[in-house]
Structures are given as C-alpha cells and as structure tokens.
Point group: C2
Chain length 183, copies 2
DNA sequence: CAATATAGCTGGACGCTGTACAGTTCGCCA
DNA sequence: TGGCGAACTGTACAGCGTCCAGCTATATTG
C-alpha cells in the first residue's frame, strides 16, 4: 500500500494472529477467513503472517485448539459419569458457535493440539474411575468424541431449534454413557 | 487447447460429470477434485461443466447423494432394531472410502438429496415399527445420523486399525439403539 | 427439404486465493 | 559500536471457480 513503512516492526504476535483469525471466523465465517483478511485486520501485509504461522491449515488447527482451552474442566472427584457428561456438553457448547471449524477438524482426522490432548486425558481418567480401562476406554473415548464433534458440526442446522438440539444431544449422550458405564 | 474442434459436441452428460468427479475423488482425494481436473478427465473445457452442473458445491452435493444410493435397504419387515443397525452400518461403509465427502456434508449442515431423504424415511418407518414416533423419532433419527456420519468422517484416522474402528462403531451404535428402543 | 432456434461447447478473461522470493530495516547482544 | 537474525515489505506466480461472448452441430418447425 505504500503507507506502511518497509522493514518496520508492527509488533505482530502469534497469539494476535490467532485472535484475529478467531474473531474473523466468529464474525464472518470460514469463507471470509482468508490470510489476506487476517492480515488486513492486523494492518499488515499478507505474507507477514507466515513469520508466525506455518500455513493456513496450521493456523486453523491452532484456532481450534485455542477454542478447546475454553472447555470447563469437570470435578475429577465427583461422579465419573456426570464428569464425562459435563465435559462433552461443554465441548459441544464451545464448538457450536464456530461451526465452520468442526468440518476442518474432521477433515484433519481429529485434533492433536495440547488442549485436545488434555481433554482426552481427563476423559480417560474419568473412565478409569468408572471402571472402564484399556481397549474399552479407548473405544468409549472415541465414541464420545465422535458423537460430540458430530453434533457440534451439525450445529443447529437440522429441523430442530437450537435448544431442542441441545436436549437432543443430551439425550443421546446419556444413552451412550449408559452403555459405557452400565449399572 | 486447440485440439478439440470448437463448437463440436462432446456428448457430455450430467451423470458423466458426476461419475468423473466421483472417480477423481476416489483416486486422488478432495484436493485433486477441481473443476479443471474433472474437465480434463472428460476431455472438455472447464466451463463446459457448467452446462450440466450449477457449481462445484452442487456437484459435490450430487456426488454425495449418488453415493448414498449404494446403501443397502434393510428388510422392512424384520426386527426394526436390526434393520436400523443394518442401515447405519451400510451407510458408514458406503461413506468411509470417500472420507473427504463427509466434512463437506457436515459443512452443508446435512444432506438433502433424494437418496438421503429416502434413507431418512426408511429409518423413520423402522423407528415407528419399534414404537418410536413423533418427536422421539426425530430425535433418535438425528442421533443415529450424527453418530454414523461422525464415524464416517473420522474414517480410520484414529489410533485404532480399520476393522477395529468398525467394531468400535458397532459397539456405540448398539448402545444408542439400546437407549432408543428399550427392552 | 430449407430455415431457424437452441443448447453445448470453446477461448479468453477476471478476481481471488495461498504462498514463495528477495530485499529492507529494526531490535538485540557481543 | 558492529553485526546478526528476525520481522516485515513489495512483487509475483500458479491455480482456483466462474462469467462472458461467440461459434456450431443438432433439434424443431414451416
């Protein structure tokens, strides 16, 4: 543009880039989330972003994992089934207003970021306290994750209203938990 | 390219376009499925496709629905729970080797094509014969669909091997069906 | 059978994308 | 104080989906 001075530091930060991308996603959706749009919002040249992020896919990965940091941790000492229920509900709530992010998650065959990993560990611990371990735990984990992510992706797009979808999610989740932790 | 004679009919068909797109998806994945690649495969100029397909999104929608035509219909007079189980298993199998298609499905907030609709109706009928009707049926339908699509999307990408994932899917599915159809 | 309308295809182009390259300049550390 | 590495710039490229205008082989009509 000629307005920005060449070579001058804009004080750009990795987390500033993530935040800008996240905001853009929230305000205008995935289609509007282009590297150029993020750069514009930060008043910076498009390629400046590549000093802080490997590429757009990695950027989206990180935005997703940042998002997962907002999942509220359950009471690890309470009832395990209720703890699992709480984690899944919170996860869905956190993801549901970034619906475009979830297909990306699925296309990447699952999240691998630190926050995603932490959630997985918490769930495994809860399952263990409920007497589900080993292969059983791995299977239960996967079922719960797939179910939750699926519901987050479908968002409120079906024939049901928003709060109906929440109750619907809840109901299926309890069916799964009843199967996972019998009695 | 100057090789093809201008104005000459290539005998292009809508279903030929769908087939080419489907093949490309199977052989080289979603990233390789560009309008230009489809056109090249049909030995045609890229914009010729737009005589048969509204745009790329619609093309993907149609490829998906074509795919759903392959789902094997269950015995409508047998045990409803087994019928539902069979439909979901078949759906997952049909989608699992076009894994890129499923995030697209989710991003579009669910399939709406004729074959998808037919599957929905079959499921509702089975649920009805199991005594699940009205809102309960709509909720059960949604839970089953989300679960199945989710597993199709995650494909075999997790920590489990391919056939393990199949058994894993089966297990969770039975939990859900046990909740939907008690007794 | 001749004239006309139409639908299928073409080359070309537009605006947009992600991102590579090389150069400039700043802040920091020896 | 000198130099080095990191941050940022302008520029550019290849590839994308898709629109437009034109040509022509075919179908339709008189």
């Amino acid at each position: 543009m000629g307005i920005r001075n060449p070579g001058q530091r804009a004080g750009l930060t990795r987390s500033a880039v993530l935040a800008a991308a996240n905001d853009l996603l929230a305000e205008r959706g995935l289609a509007a989330l282009t590297m150029r749009a993020v750069a514009t919002r930060l008043d910076v040249a498009p390629n400046a972003l590549y000093s802080h992020v490997a590429n757009k896919t990695a950027l989206l990965d990180d935005v997703l994992d940042d998002r997962l940091a907002l999942v509220t941790e359950p009471d690890v000492d309470g009832d395990p089934a209720e703890g699992l229920h709480a984690v899944m509900v919170s996860t869905r709530e956190v993801l549901i207003d970034r619906p475009d992010l979830v297909p990306h998650y699925l296309a990447r065959q699952g999240a691998r970021g630190p926050h995603a990993q932490r959630l997985g560990e918490i769930m495994v611990a809860l399952l263990g306290r409920a007497g589900v371990t080993g292969d059983d735990a791995r299977e239960a984990l996967r079922v719960l994750i797939v179910y939750t992510i699926g519901f987050a992706a479908l968002g409120t797009g079906g024939p049901l209203a928003a709060d109906e979808t929440g109750r619907n999610f809840d109901r299926g989740l309890r069916w799964l938990l009843a199967g996972i932790i019998p009695g």
